[in-house]
Protein backbone atom coordinates (compact mmCIF):
# COMPACT_ATOMS: atom_id res chain seq x y z
CA UNK A 1 0.00 0.00 0.00
CA UNK A 2 2.88 2.41 -0.75
CA UNK A 3 0.62 4.15 -3.24
CA UNK A 4 -1.61 5.39 -0.45
CA UNK A 5 1.24 6.89 1.54
CA UNK A 6 1.16 10.31 -0.20
CA UNK A 7 -2.58 10.54 0.53
CA UNK A 8 -2.04 10.24 4.24
CA UNK A 9 0.95 12.56 4.14
CA UNK A 10 -0.65 15.15 1.89
CA UNK A 11 -2.89 16.82 4.46
CA UNK A 12 -2.67 15.29 7.92
CA UNK A 13 -3.99 18.40 9.67
CA UNK A 14 -6.54 19.63 7.14
CA UNK A 15 -8.39 16.35 7.39
CA UNK A 16 -9.37 17.01 10.99
CA UNK A 17 -10.43 20.58 10.27
CA UNK A 18 -12.83 19.31 7.66
CA UNK A 19 -14.32 16.67 9.94
CA UNK A 20 -18.06 17.20 9.99
CA UNK A 21 -18.78 15.79 13.40
CA UNK A 22 -19.61 12.21 12.50
CA UNK A 23 -18.08 9.40 14.51
CA UNK A 24 -16.26 8.30 11.37
CA UNK A 25 -14.43 11.60 11.18
CA UNK A 26 -13.66 11.32 14.88
CA UNK A 27 -12.02 7.97 14.21
CA UNK A 28 -9.91 9.58 11.50
CA UNK A 29 -8.85 12.31 13.91
CA UNK A 30 -7.68 9.75 16.49
CA UNK A 31 -6.07 6.95 14.50
CA UNK A 32 -4.52 5.41 17.66
CA UNK A 33 -7.87 4.05 18.93
CA UNK A 34 -8.91 0.56 17.81
CA UNK A 35 -11.37 0.50 14.91
CA UNK A 36 -13.89 -1.78 16.65
CA UNK A 37 -14.66 0.93 19.24
CA UNK A 38 -17.67 2.10 17.23
CA UNK A 39 -19.38 -1.22 18.01
CA UNK A 40 -19.80 -0.28 21.68
CA UNK A 41 -20.95 3.29 21.06
CA UNK A 42 -24.43 3.88 22.57
CA UNK A 43 -26.12 4.18 19.19
CA UNK A 44 -24.63 0.92 17.95
CA UNK A 45 -25.49 -0.83 21.22
CA UNK A 46 -29.08 0.22 20.54
CA UNK A 47 -28.88 -1.35 17.08
CA UNK A 48 -27.37 -4.55 18.53
CA UNK A 49 -30.21 -4.75 21.04
CA UNK A 50 -32.80 -4.19 18.32
CA UNK A 51 -31.26 -6.94 16.22
CA UNK A 52 -31.13 -9.46 19.08
CA UNK A 53 -34.74 -8.74 20.08
CA UNK A 54 -36.03 -8.92 16.51
CA UNK A 55 -34.04 -12.12 15.83
CA UNK A 56 -35.54 -13.98 18.79
CA UNK A 57 -38.92 -12.36 18.15
CA UNK A 58 -38.97 -13.71 14.60
CA UNK A 59 -37.90 -17.20 15.74
CA UNK A 60 -40.66 -17.07 18.34
CA UNK A 61 -43.20 -16.13 15.67
CA UNK A 62 -41.97 -19.01 13.54
CA UNK A 63 -42.43 -21.38 16.46
CA UNK A 64 -45.92 -20.02 17.05
CA UNK A 65 -46.82 -20.60 13.38
CA UNK A 66 -45.37 -24.13 13.58
CA UNK A 67 -47.72 -24.95 16.46
CA UNK A 68 -50.65 -23.48 14.55
CA UNK A 69 -49.67 -25.52 11.49
CA UNK A 70 -49.38 -28.72 13.53
CA UNK A 71 -52.83 -28.14 15.00
CA UNK A 72 -54.40 -28.14 11.55
CA UNK A 73 -53.98 -24.64 10.06
CA UNK A 74 -52.51 -25.49 6.65
CA UNK A 75 -51.86 -21.82 5.81
CA UNK A 76 -49.41 -21.55 8.70
CA UNK A 77 -46.90 -23.84 6.99
CA UNK A 78 -45.84 -20.99 4.69
CA UNK A 79 -45.20 -18.68 7.64
CA UNK A 80 -43.49 -21.46 9.60
CA UNK A 81 -40.66 -21.29 7.07
CA UNK A 82 -40.88 -17.58 6.40
CA UNK A 83 -40.18 -16.31 9.91
CA UNK A 84 -36.95 -18.27 10.42
CA UNK A 85 -35.88 -17.08 6.95
CA UNK A 86 -36.42 -13.46 8.04
CA UNK A 87 -34.46 -14.17 11.22
CA UNK A 88 -31.63 -15.51 9.05
CA UNK A 89 -31.80 -12.37 6.87
CA UNK A 90 -31.45 -10.26 10.00
CA UNK A 91 -28.27 -12.07 11.02
CA UNK A 92 -26.69 -11.95 7.54
CA UNK A 93 -27.63 -8.29 6.96
CA UNK A 94 -26.30 -7.34 10.38
CA UNK A 95 -23.01 -9.14 9.92
CA UNK A 96 -22.50 -7.52 6.51
CA UNK A 97 -23.39 -4.08 7.85
CA UNK A 98 -20.74 -4.39 10.55
CA UNK A 99 -18.19 -5.71 8.05
CA UNK A 100 -18.88 -2.77 5.71
CA UNK A 101 -18.59 -0.34 8.60
CA UNK A 102 -15.19 -1.79 9.52
CA UNK A 103 -14.07 -1.42 5.92
CA UNK A 104 -15.32 2.16 5.68
CA UNK A 105 -13.49 3.13 8.84
CA UNK A 106 -10.31 1.27 7.90
CA UNK A 107 -10.44 2.88 4.46
CA UNK A 108 -10.44 6.32 6.04
CA UNK A 109 -7.69 5.69 8.56
CA UNK A 110 -5.49 2.88 7.27
CA UNK A 111 -6.21 2.24 3.60
CA UNK A 112 -6.68 -1.33 2.35
CA UNK A 113 -5.00 -3.87 0.11
CA UNK A 114 -5.89 -3.84 -3.57
CA UNK A 115 -7.78 -7.15 -3.56
CA UNK A 116 -9.95 -5.74 -0.78
CA UNK A 117 -11.07 -2.96 -3.09
CA UNK A 118 -12.71 -5.48 -5.43
CA UNK A 119 -15.35 -6.54 -2.91
CA UNK A 120 -15.96 -3.16 -1.29
CA UNK A 121 -19.16 -1.17 -1.69
CA UNK A 122 -18.46 0.59 -4.96
CA UNK A 123 -18.14 4.14 -3.64
CA UNK A 124 -15.16 3.23 -1.50
CA UNK A 125 -13.52 1.02 -4.08
CA UNK A 126 -13.91 3.66 -6.75
CA UNK A 127 -12.38 6.37 -4.61
CA UNK A 128 -9.49 4.16 -3.66
CA UNK A 129 -8.85 3.03 -7.21
CA UNK A 130 -8.78 6.64 -8.30
CA UNK A 131 -6.54 7.63 -5.41
CA UNK A 132 -4.11 4.88 -6.33
CA UNK A 133 -4.20 5.97 -9.95
CA UNK A 134 -3.50 9.61 -9.28
CA UNK A 135 -0.90 8.84 -6.63
CA UNK A 136 1.19 6.70 -8.98
CA UNK A 137 4.21 8.78 -10.07
CA UNK A 138 4.15 7.24 -13.56
CA UNK A 139 0.75 8.78 -14.31
CA UNK A 140 1.71 12.32 -13.40
CA UNK A 141 5.18 13.72 -14.00
CA UNK A 142 4.86 16.10 -11.06
CA UNK A 143 4.76 14.39 -7.64
CA UNK A 144 3.39 17.56 -6.06
CA UNK A 145 0.47 17.58 -8.48
CA UNK A 146 -0.27 13.91 -7.84
CA UNK A 147 -0.22 14.50 -4.10
CA UNK A 148 -2.62 17.39 -4.58
CA UNK A 149 -4.84 15.21 -6.72
CA UNK A 150 -4.83 12.54 -4.05
CA UNK A 151 -5.76 15.16 -1.49
CA UNK A 152 -8.67 16.34 -3.66
CA UNK A 153 -9.77 12.75 -4.12
CA UNK A 154 -9.79 12.24 -0.39
CA UNK A 155 -11.78 15.43 0.23
CA UNK A 156 -14.19 14.34 -2.45
CA UNK A 157 -14.59 10.95 -0.80
CA UNK A 158 -15.24 12.54 2.58
CA UNK A 159 -17.84 14.94 1.24
CA UNK A 160 -19.53 12.19 -0.72
CA UNK A 161 -19.51 9.61 2.04
CA UNK A 162 -20.58 11.80 4.94
CA UNK A 163 -22.53 14.66 3.50
CA UNK A 164 -24.91 13.03 1.14
CA UNK A 165 -24.48 9.29 1.01
CA UNK A 166 -24.48 8.34 4.63
CA UNK A 167 -27.52 10.30 5.56
CA UNK A 168 -29.00 9.75 9.00
CA UNK A 169 -26.58 8.40 11.50
Amino acid sequence: MENAAPIEGAAPTDGTDLADGTDLAAAAAAPSGPVWRFLVAPRWLGWHLLMVVSFWGMLWLGDWQLHRALSGNALSWAYTFEWPLFAGFAVVFWAKTIRDEFRLKRGETLGASSEDAESLPFGVGMVRARAAQSATPADDEDPELSAYNAYLTRLNAEVKNHGRWHGLR
Binding site: P121, F122, M126, L145, R164
Partner: protein, 133 residues
Protein backbone atom coordinates in the same frame (compact mmCIF):
# COMPACT_ATOMS: atom_id res chain seq x y z
CA UNK B 1 -1.03 9.72 -20.61
CA UNK B 2 -3.51 11.94 -18.84
CA UNK B 3 -5.98 11.44 -21.69
CA UNK B 4 -5.67 7.68 -21.34
CA UNK B 5 -6.40 7.67 -17.63
CA UNK B 6 -9.33 10.02 -18.18
CA UNK B 7 -10.89 7.50 -20.53
CA UNK B 8 -10.34 4.68 -18.06
CA UNK B 9 -11.96 6.66 -15.29
CA UNK B 10 -14.97 7.59 -17.35
CA UNK B 11 -15.75 4.04 -18.43
CA UNK B 12 -15.23 2.85 -14.86
CA UNK B 13 -17.72 5.41 -13.61
CA UNK B 14 -20.22 4.50 -16.29
CA UNK B 15 -20.00 0.86 -15.32
CA UNK B 16 -20.55 1.63 -11.64
CA UNK B 17 -23.37 3.97 -12.55
CA UNK B 18 -25.08 1.14 -14.42
CA UNK B 19 -24.74 -1.12 -11.38
CA UNK B 20 -26.47 1.47 -9.20
CA UNK B 21 -29.15 2.16 -11.77
CA UNK B 22 -29.90 -1.56 -12.06
CA UNK B 23 -30.17 -1.85 -8.29
CA UNK B 24 -32.47 1.18 -8.20
CA UNK B 25 -34.69 -0.26 -10.93
CA UNK B 26 -34.98 -3.65 -9.19
CA UNK B 27 -35.81 -1.99 -5.92
CA UNK B 28 -38.43 0.29 -7.51
CA UNK B 29 -40.15 -2.55 -9.35
CA UNK B 30 -40.33 -4.70 -6.22
CA UNK B 31 -41.40 -1.75 -4.05
CA UNK B 32 -44.27 -1.05 -6.46
CA UNK B 33 -45.42 -4.67 -6.83
CA UNK B 34 -45.14 -5.43 -3.11
CA UNK B 35 -46.92 -2.18 -2.28
CA UNK B 36 -49.82 -2.81 -4.66
CA UNK B 37 -50.29 -6.39 -3.42
CA UNK B 38 -50.18 -5.25 0.20
CA UNK B 39 -52.74 -2.49 -0.42
CA UNK B 40 -54.98 -5.04 -2.14
CA UNK B 41 -54.53 -7.45 0.78
CA UNK B 42 -55.36 -4.87 3.42
CA UNK B 43 -58.16 -2.95 1.71
CA UNK B 44 -59.84 -5.78 -0.22
CA UNK B 45 -58.71 -9.09 1.32
CA UNK B 46 -59.09 -8.21 4.99
CA UNK B 47 -62.60 -6.66 4.68
CA UNK B 48 -63.72 -9.74 2.72
CA UNK B 49 -62.18 -11.96 5.39
CA UNK B 50 -64.11 -10.10 8.08
CA UNK B 51 -67.24 -10.47 5.94
CA UNK B 52 -66.69 -14.23 5.92
CA UNK B 53 -64.70 -14.87 2.73
CA UNK B 54 -61.14 -15.61 3.85
CA UNK B 55 -59.87 -17.19 0.61
CA UNK B 56 -58.52 -13.97 -0.98
CA UNK B 57 -56.79 -12.76 2.18
CA UNK B 58 -55.17 -16.17 2.70
CA UNK B 59 -53.81 -16.52 -0.81
CA UNK B 60 -52.78 -12.91 -1.31
CA UNK B 61 -51.16 -13.02 2.14
CA UNK B 62 -48.88 -15.86 1.08
CA UNK B 63 -48.10 -14.09 -2.22
CA UNK B 64 -47.18 -10.93 -0.34
CA UNK B 65 -44.92 -12.99 1.92
CA UNK B 66 -42.99 -14.33 -1.07
CA UNK B 67 -42.83 -10.90 -2.78
CA UNK B 68 -41.61 -9.34 0.44
CA UNK B 69 -38.68 -11.77 0.57
CA UNK B 70 -37.60 -10.62 -2.91
CA UNK B 71 -38.21 -6.99 -1.93
CA UNK B 72 -35.96 -7.45 1.12
CA UNK B 73 -33.10 -8.77 -0.99
CA UNK B 74 -33.30 -5.98 -3.60
CA UNK B 75 -33.76 -3.22 -1.04
CA UNK B 76 -30.77 -4.55 0.89
CA UNK B 77 -28.58 -4.64 -2.23
CA UNK B 78 -29.54 -1.05 -3.04
CA UNK B 79 -28.79 0.00 0.52
CA UNK B 80 -25.26 -1.43 0.18
CA UNK B 81 -24.68 0.20 -3.20
CA UNK B 82 -25.70 3.59 -1.79
CA UNK B 83 -23.77 2.95 1.45
CA UNK B 84 -26.81 3.92 3.48
CA UNK B 85 -26.68 4.25 7.24
CA UNK B 86 -28.60 1.82 9.46
CA UNK B 87 -31.68 3.94 10.01
CA UNK B 88 -32.72 4.51 6.38
CA UNK B 89 -31.83 0.89 5.63
CA UNK B 90 -34.13 -0.46 8.35
CA UNK B 91 -36.91 1.95 7.34
CA UNK B 92 -36.57 0.82 3.73
CA UNK B 93 -36.65 -2.89 4.64
CA UNK B 94 -39.66 -2.57 6.96
CA UNK B 95 -41.63 -0.38 4.53
CA UNK B 96 -42.68 -3.54 2.67
CA UNK B 97 -44.83 -4.62 5.62
CA UNK B 98 -46.85 -1.41 6.11
CA UNK B 99 -49.66 -0.56 3.63
CA UNK B 100 -48.91 2.47 1.41
CA UNK B 101 -45.58 2.93 3.19
CA UNK B 102 -43.58 1.38 0.31
CA UNK B 103 -44.68 4.24 -1.97
CA UNK B 104 -43.85 6.95 0.57
CA UNK B 105 -40.48 5.45 1.47
CA UNK B 106 -39.57 4.86 -2.18
CA UNK B 107 -40.11 8.55 -2.92
CA UNK B 108 -38.21 9.59 0.19
CA UNK B 109 -35.27 7.30 -0.61
CA UNK B 110 -35.21 8.61 -4.18
CA UNK B 111 -35.20 12.25 -3.15
CA UNK B 112 -32.85 11.89 -0.19
CA UNK B 113 -30.34 9.27 -1.42
CA UNK B 114 -30.75 7.95 -4.95
CA UNK B 115 -30.83 11.27 -6.80
CA UNK B 116 -27.90 12.79 -4.86
CA UNK B 117 -25.88 9.60 -5.33
CA UNK B 118 -26.42 9.46 -9.08
CA UNK B 119 -25.74 13.20 -9.41
CA UNK B 120 -22.71 13.10 -7.08
CA UNK B 121 -21.20 10.19 -8.95
CA UNK B 122 -20.94 12.17 -12.16
CA UNK B 123 -19.27 15.03 -10.30
CA UNK B 124 -16.97 12.80 -8.27
CA UNK B 125 -14.32 12.48 -10.97
CA UNK B 126 -14.17 16.17 -11.84
CA UNK B 127 -11.61 17.75 -9.50
CA UNK B 128 -9.02 15.05 -10.18
CA UNK B 129 -9.30 14.96 -13.94
CA UNK B 130 -9.51 18.73 -14.21
CA UNK B 131 -6.20 19.34 -12.42
CA UNK B 132 -4.51 16.42 -14.19
CA UNK B 133 -5.13 18.02 -17.57
Amino acid sequence: MAGGTDCDKRSFDDQEMKVVETAVLRYRVMAYITGVVLVFLCFVGIPLQIAGHPAIANNVGVVHGILYIIYLVFAWILSRKLQLANKPTVIMLLAGTVPIMTFIVERWITRRFISPALAGQAKAAEPVSRSAR
